[in-house]
Assembly symmetry: C2
Homo-oligomer: 192 residues x 2
DNA sequence: TCGCCATAAGTAAACACTCGATTACATTAT
DNA sequence: ATAATGTAATCGAGTGTTTACTTATGGCGA
C-alpha cells in the first residue's frame, strides 16, 4: 500500500486550508483532491464523505484543544491562575496554527449541534472553572454561563479582529492584556 | 402591477428566515420562492441574483443598526452613558428581531469584505466612542481597537449563547450586567 | 530467497442531482 | 397601450458520490 496515514493527513491539511480560504461550502472535493495531488475517489478511501471529513477535522481538534485547556487549568491552583493559563492557551493555539483556529471558529456553528454530551468541549472546561470560582465565593454577581460567555467573547472577538486585520501581531503578545480584561470583568483582583 | 414593494419585503422576510434556519448556502432560491408564495423567476424581478438579495438584506440592516447605535450614543454625554446606551441598543435589537440579529451574525464574515469605507458600520461607531474616551484620558491601557473587540465580544458572545440555548430569557434583562461588564473591562467606574 | 497474492490505495469516468439563472409567455394596473 | 409583475419550463454548470478498474506493497508458503 502507498502511505495510508500520510495521505490522510495530506487530505486533511489541504481541506483545512481550502475551507478557511474559500469557505466550507465553496471548497469542493475536486479542489481538495487537486490540492492533495490525489484523485477524488481516493479521498473516499479515507473518509466516508465530505461531512465526515469536516467532522473529523472539527471534532478531533475541538476536543483536543479542550483537553489541552483542561491540563493547563489543572496545573494552576488559584482561580486567577487558571484563567490566565487558559487565556494564554487560546493565544498560543492561535499563533501556532491560525488556519486551524480559523477553521474551528468558522465551522463551529454548523458542527456544535453534533457534539455529544460526553465529548470534551472547551466551553464546558472554562465554565467548569468559573463554576468552581462561584462556589468558592470568589466571583460575585454573574452566573457561570454568563461569565463564560464574557470570557469567550473577549478572547474570541480579539482573535476575530486579528483575522480581519483590525488587530495585528501575535496573539500571545496580547495575553497579558486579555487576562487582565477577563479578571476585571469578573471583578477579580489580578493576583500575579 | 401587483404590489411591487410588498412582495419584495415578503421575499426578504422569507429569505431571512430560511437563511437563519438552514444556512445561507443551504437556503436555495427554490425554497425562498416557495416560502414567499411566488415563483423563482419573480424573485429576479426584484433582485439581480442571490448575492444581491443577501447583500441587500445585510447592508441595509447593518448600516441601519449602525445609525441607530450612533443616535443612541449621541444622546449621551458621558462615556459610561454612551456605552450603556449602545449595549442596551444591542439587547433591544436582539429581542426585537432575533432572526435578523442572527442573520447579521451569520453572514457578517462573508459580507464584511464588501463593506465600503464610507458605509456606516457598528464596529466603527463603537470604536469611535472608545477612541474619544481614550483621547479624554478616561480609558487607560487598552487601544481603541482592543477595547472595541472586548466590548463586542462580551455582548455578541452573550447573544450567541442565547442563540444556542446556553442562556435564556430576553437579552434586555441582561443589559445592566453587560453594561457593568463592559465598564469593568475598560476599568471605568459605573457612574449611574 | 523467490514468487505469488490478498488487500490497501489510487485512478478516471460517469452518475444522479441540485443550484442559480434565463427565457418566452401570460397577467395586471395605470 | 404599455410598463411592471408573475409564471412555468428549461438551461448549463457544478456538486458529492459511486463505480469498475489498475497499481503497489507487505506477508507467507514453498
Amino acid at each position: 500500500m502507498r502511505s495510508g496515514e500520510a495521505t490522510k493527513e495530506k487530505i486533511k491539511r489541504a481541506a483545512l486550508e481550502l475551507f478557511v480560504q474559500k469557505g466550507v461550502d465553496a471548497g469542493g472535493m475536486r479542489d481538495i483532491a487537486t490540492a492533495s495531488n490525489i484523485t477524488e475517489g481516493a479521498i473516499y478511501r479515507h473518509f466516508k464523505g465530505k461531512d465526515d471529513l469536516i467532522w473529523q477535522l472539527f471534532a478531533d481538534n475541538f476536543s483536543g484543544f479542550a483537553t489541552t485547556l483542561n491540563d493547563l487549568q489543572n496545573e494552576q491552583n488559584t482561580l486567577a491562575g487558571k484563567i490566565d493559563a487558559m487565556v494564554r492557551g487560546f493565544c498560543r493555539f492561535y499563533d501556532d496554527d491560525e488556519t486551524l483556529f480559523r477553521f474551528l471558529l468558522l465551522v463551529q456553528h454548523g458542527q456544535l449541534a453534533k457534539v455529544s454530551e460526553d465529548m470534551q468541549n472547551p466551553i464546558d472546561i472554562v465554565q467548569g472553572v468559573l463554576q468552581g470560582g462561584i462556589e468558592a465565593g470568589e466571583i460575585g454577581g454573574a452566573s457561570a454561563q454568563e461569565a463564560t460567555a464574557w470570557l469567550f467573547g473577549i478572547v474570541l472577538q480579539t482573535a476575530t479582529f486579528h483575522i480581519y486585520g483590525r488587530l495585528s501581531g501575535p496573539m500571545t503578545k496580547r495575553a497579558d492584556a486579555l487576562s487582565q480584561a477577563c479578571l476585571a470583568v469578573l471583578a477579580l483582583p489580578a493576583d500575579r
